[in-house]
């Protein structure tokens, strides 16, 4: 059975897990490929105009896949830890997709809701696996292989590789290092999607800056830093962004921060306030917010990023002298 996997949204977080799991059960996992202009325009036409770009991009990937596969994998991520949620858009994703006008192949929509506990989760995994195999043992050994693949992926990321390099085996050209280090914050589907981010990581590297992202940091550090919020943030992925930026703000382990956010993103609109509040003092790290949507122009973005990197470089020189 050919299972379509849209290369968008939480793909950057969990792909190795699901690929190994489904693949281990005999499914042929078909990826939609990197985001292109066509993906975005298809998504933009099919999706409700007020949705955020990442969801429109997901629509685009799904539509690119629909005629090539027997089924498409669209999990419903409700929560990935206790007493938390993901963004509401993830909670409603399969239903939104079903309301698309085009003919779609059947969807596989397991509900991941870890707030309900592991028992419930493993029941979901079993049910999901049952679409492909009737052997419980086979299902769980495939799942275990998936977990190992995910762990390997995380290790690679913590060693400094980016999801693009790992998942798409892309190599970035070696560039001369200037000693500048930039923290890149934001949703993985914004910063790692080469189209949405206009290849930001590659560009920064070409400008001589080393790039650090949340995925390269130790989970425990992020958790500890995020716990400094007086009220726990109930969105897991946004908590990661906050914890990461808090860590940089705290340790000054980067020279500056670029925060990429989606136009009209609900969670981003609030965490932006938290980040700016944290970085408001004169001695704080400089942070630049980049808002991306389907209309953002490449030229404007590059100019802004270049100006920011220049500024950081000058600041660093001044400190060294």
């Amino acid at each position: 059975m050919k299972v379509g996997y849209p290369q968008a949204l939480l793909y950057y977080k969990y792909f190795p897990l699901w690929e190994r799991f489904l693949g281990g059960l005999g499914a042929e996992v078909v990826l939609s490929g990197a985001t292109t202009k066509n993906t975005v325009s298809m998504g933009t036409i099919a999706a409700e105009s007020e949705l955020c770009l990442p969801v429109k991009v997901f629509y685009g990937h799904l539509l690119e896949l629909k005629d090539k596969v027997d089924t498409i994998f669209v999990p419903r991520f409700v929560s990935v830890e206790k007493k938390s949620y993901t963004c509401p858009k993830f909670l409603g994703l399969p239903d939104m997709i079903r309301s698309i006008n085009d003919e779609l192949p059947p969807l596989i929509t397991p509900k991941i809701d870890l707030d309900k506990g592991w028992r419930e989760y493993f029941r979901t995994i079993h049910e999901l696996g049952s679409n492909f195999s009737s052997s419980k043992r086979k299902i769980f050994s495939a799942y275990r292989a998936g977990v190992l693949a995910l762990r390997d992926y995380h290790n690679q990321l913590q060693a400094g590789s980016t999801p693009i390099e790992f998942l798409e085996k892309k190599k970035y050209r070696k560039v001369k290092k200037t000693g500048l280090k930039i923290g890149l914050a934001g949703h993985p589907y914004n910063i790692y999607d080469t189209y949405t981010s206009m290849n930001l990581i590659k560009r920064l590297r070409e400008m001589g800056a080393e790039v650090e992202t949340a995925e390269m940091l130790d989970d425990n550090i992020i958790k500890r830093e995020a716990a400094r919020l007086p009220k726990k943030l109930f969105w897991t992925y946004e908590k990661e962004v906050v914890g990461t930026v808090f860590h940089w703000a705290h340790t000054h382990s980067v020279d500056g921060i670029i925060y990429v956010l989606s136009f009209a993103c609900g969670p981003d609109s609030l965490i932006q306030v938290i980040l700016e509040h944290e970085l408001r003092s004169d001695t704080a790290l400089p942070m630049m917010s980049l808002v991306v949507d389907e209309h953002s122009g490449e030229a404007g973005l590059i100019t802004r990023v270049e100006a920011f990197v220049d500024m950081l470089q000058r600041k660093k020189m001044a400190q060294l002298c």
């Binding site: 999706a47 409700e48 007020e50 949705l51 419903r76 409700v78 007493k83 938390s84 949620y85 993901t86 963004c87 509401p88 858009k89 909670l91 409603g92 399969p94 239903d95 939104m96 079903r98 309301s99 509900k111 919020l229 007086p230 009220k231 943030l233 109930f234 969105w235 136009f263 009209a264 993103c265 609900g266 969670p267 981003d268 609109s269 609030l270 932006q272 306030v273 938290i274 700016e276 509040h277 408001r280």
Partner: protein, 370 residues
């Protein structure tokens, strides 16, 4: 200590009554207006939703009037409202204000997080707080019941504006309620005032359901007074959410009349999971109203609202399947009354022509039977 809380429709009735019972001094910031919104939008992030902008505006107005303690509701997500208090505190502190923020979390996050803060500011025992809550609720519910009646009957009034006039008088009557025992008497008197408005019950009216995000639905400024506008144009209205249903401890929605579980069941084929806020209820109510033979649905929500944007994505298929027209309004600080009115007029024209056609069809059918 001088406390203040944000404005949202007549929620001040409930909260004011509660604070009086608890002996907490408070001031009411002015009702939501253009000024409040401009003030709030200046400090709030661009993509935050309208309720946050108005809250900020209210709080600044209250602080300028001398409030030093801000009371705000908390929440556990996944919609943004649950984190508003934290964000508002930061925005106002960064703007240079000095105050104390009290966040009242919903009991589902732990009973103590709910009563603890109230206990701290009021110095009252948990038993007393509980009693105050129980005593304040019935009064607020009476306001909701009155409002519901107004929405249903304004379309029949003979003299335009008579219902609104009677409604104002009736509100004064309800304001006299000082305890649960007095609710029935005054409510009867208030309802009688609205019922007494001269009506033409033979008039043909459109039946429309208003659904969407709670804040927009509950606050007349935020919804551009759409209900009165529609009522005087002969539209019978029902609304998906009322103040006490929204904060009420039960899922029964006694004023609105449809329970949350029933709504989820209705929505199941289109949206099979909650998505925060009223997203699921919006889909459920659309189906409920369609089943009741309503002529159309008006969907209102703030720009960038996550749950309602999801609902907006899904509702067109509901409308198609159940053959009911739905119009959506995304509201932000740039929304103008005139633009909304123009679109609404066209929508009502559509509903009238559909209604006439359906009646003709029915007539032809009954003739054929004869």
């Amino acid at each position: 200590m001088l406390a203040a809380f944000p404005r949202m429709g007549h929620i001040d009735i409930l909260l004011g009554d509660l604070l009086d019972r608890l002996g907490i001094d408070y001031l009411l910031p002015p009702v939501n207006s253009e000024k409040t919104l401009v003030l709030g939008a200046k400090y709030a992030p661009e993509f935050s939703c309208l309720p946050l902008k108005l809250n900020i505006g209210n709080f600044i107005e209250a602080l300028e009037l001398g409030a030093d303690t801000l009371i705000m509701a908390g929440g556990r997500g996944p919609c943004r409202f649950g984190y508003y208090a934290e964000i508002e505190r930061r925005i106002l502190k960064d703007a240079g204000y000095d105050f104390n923020m009290i966040t009242i979390e919903p009991p589902s996050l732990g009973f103590f997080k709910f009563v603890g803060p109230i206990k701290k500011v009021s110095g009252k025992s948990i038993r007393k707080i509980w009693r105050a809550l129980k005593e304040s609720f019935p009064k607020a519910r009476a306001f909701d019941q009155l409002e519901k009646l107004v929405l249903k009957t304004r379309c029949y009034e003979i003299k335009t504006g008579a219902t609104t006039k009677a409604y104002k008088k009736a509100l004064d009557v309800l304001s006299k309620i000082s305890g649960p025992k007095e609710v029935d008497g005054y409510l009867e008197e208030a309802l009688a005032l609205v019922e007494g408005v001269e009506k033409n019950l033979d008039r043909s009216v459109l039946k429309v359901g208003i659904i969407g995000e709670f804040f927009i639905l509950l606050d007349p400024f935020a919804n551009l007074d759409i209900e009165e506008w529609l009522g005087i144009r002969n539209v019978y209205l029902e609304r998906s959410v009322y103040v006490t249903d929204w904060i009420g401890p039960t899922a029964n929605n006694p004023v609105g009349g449809v329970s949350d579980t029933h709504l989820a069941k209705l929505a199941e084929n289109y949206l099979s999971h909650f998505v925060g806020g009223e997203g699921l209820a919006s889909v459920g109510h659309t189906i409920h109203y369609a089943n009741q033979g309503f002529d159309g649905i008006i969907h209102l929500f703030p720009f960038t609202c996550m749950p309602e944007t999801i609902a907006k994505t899904i509702l067109p298929s509901v409308g198609r399947d159940l053959d009911i027209p739905i119009i959506h309004f995304t509201i932000d600080e740039q929304t103008g009354k005139a633009g909304v009115a123009t679109r609404l007029e066209a929508f009502l024209d559509l509903l009238w022509s559909r209604k006439r056609q359906n009646e003709k069809k029915r007539l032809v059918k009954s003739r054929q039977l004869v």
